[in-house]
Amino acid sequence: MISNVTVDRDPGEAFLRVRPGAGHSLRRQASAVEELNDSWSLISVSYTDTEAFAAEICGFGPDVVVTGPAELRESVIRRLTGALSTDEAAR
């Protein structure tokens, strides 16, 4: 019932490539949407918590790719790498 926990951090701006017909909840939050070509839209979304936002992005699997910032990108790569089968991740 706690509706929100205030995060006292300055919001950052993330740039994400999104497949057509995917990333609906991200598109709804987007401050700008640009159609790059038939396979990708580029959207910008503001966020405050890098780890939480990276987790949200990972939920879209191959349909959403972080272009920047680097910190967010790295967190997404780390999570996805961790989701590979164990023998692969250990290599």
Binding site: C58, P62, I77, L80
Partner: protein, 349 residues
């Protein structure tokens, strides 16, 4: 809510016949009014309550059967109207003022405040009046209740709640554009509304979905567009409201069994989703079993949790998680370190 549900389920009742709630509310008002006006003419009572004299007589005939439990002659209201004038007696049970304990009154105050905050409820004035009376009656005991706030899903569009209420009241079918986050899909569907409910601080519309041909719950903050159709929205007779006491996720026995290993940072999953069993592991993690019909959301969850969770069973789901993560990582391969927000190079594949 119950009244709406039942009227929606019972199908058509002719427009002329009034609902049981309307009649009950008139009967409850009628008793003290008649007691204060012994010998009033039936015609005058009919004008006061805006019904026909025949309806007043029908109401009196029903009151005659009302009273405290027991049903003996002395327990029932006595009504006499043969002469064209109405006399009531033995109606103390209904005429007695409502007495509440302080705790009951405070619980009601908090509940009514939450209700008053719901957009689009029909009886807002009555809620506000009842609230004012209760606050006055409880006096200083109610002072602390201002600090208690019931937060009901502020994000759900007020228009959606109001429109859903309107459709329920008018028994109209609605058309929804609805986001299914578990599958990252926007869907279009026609729904016959059954009830509007608040579970764990979220508003849901329950209704018969013509796309799924089954009862579905729609979270109001995920409805992207709602249109009331000019079509009857009485759900089919097989539409049964779900028992939501255990929450909105109710796995079925024939759903697929999934076994997950959770790291210490992912153990929250076992509190968040309904699980069949849990075994704690020595590292602070856990192994859980859960049942689900749809594994798309689980795949997404596994990508989010990264190294903190592993699918142990079924092997097919483990493979899907691995393949999806691999495909997602391909977009980053080779471009590592480049973080310019140009995004102009689409990944191959």
């Amino acid at each position: 809510m119950n009244a709406k549900m039942q009227s929606a389920q019972s199908g058509h009742s002719s427009a002329a016949s009034e609902s049981a709630t309307t009649r009950l509310s008139r009967l409850l008002t009628m008793v003290p009014w008649l007691l204060n006006r012994q010998g009033v003419e039936i015609d005058e009572a009919a004008r006061e309550f805006d019904v026909t004299p025949a309806q007043v007589e029908a109401d009196l005939a029903l009151l005659f059967l009302c009273g405290t439990p027991g049903g003996y002659h002395g327990d029932l209201i006595e009504a006499e109207w043969e002469s064209g004038r109405v006399y009531l007696a033995n109606a103390d049970a209904i005429n007695r003022p409502l007495r509440l304990g302080v705790d009951e009154a405070l619980a009601l105050i908090v509940g009514l405040r939450a209700l008053a905050a719901v957009p689009g409820i029909g009886e807002r004035e009555a809620v506000v009046r009842a609230l004012a009376k209760l606050e006055a009656a409880t006096g200083s005991a109610a002072a602390g209740t201002a600090r208690i706030q019931v937060i009901i899903d502020a994000e759900a569009g007020a228009e959606n709640i109001a429109a859903a209420n309107q459709a329920l009241a008018a028994h109209r079918r609605i058309h929804l554009r609805y986001l299914v986050p578990g599958r990252d899909e926007t869907t279009e569907r026609d729904v016959d509304p059954m009830r509007l409910i608040n579970v764990d601080a979220h508003w849901y519309l329950e209704g018969w979905c013509h796309r799924a041909e089954d009862v579905r719950l729609f979270r109001l903050d995920r409805i992207e567009a709602l249109a009331i159709l000019d079509e009857d929205g009485t759900p089919p007779s097989i539409a049964e409201p779900r028992d939501l006491d255990a929450g909105v996720f109710t796995p079925r026995a024939d759903d697929q069994l999934v076994r997950l290993a959770l790291g210490p940072e992912a153990v929250w999953v076992s509190d968040y989703y309904p699980i069949e069993s849990i075994e704690r592991t020595t590292d602070g993690g856990a192994v859980i079993d859960l049942r689900t019909a749809d594994t798309a959301w689980l795949r997404r969850l596994m990508w989010q949790l990264g190294s903190q969770a592993t699918v142990l069973e079924p092997a097919e789901l483990a493979r899907e998680v691995d393949l999806g993560a691999r495909a997602a990582l391909e977009a980053y391969a080779g471009a590592a370190g480049s973080s310019e927000p140009d995004g102009s190079t689409p990944a191959s594949g």
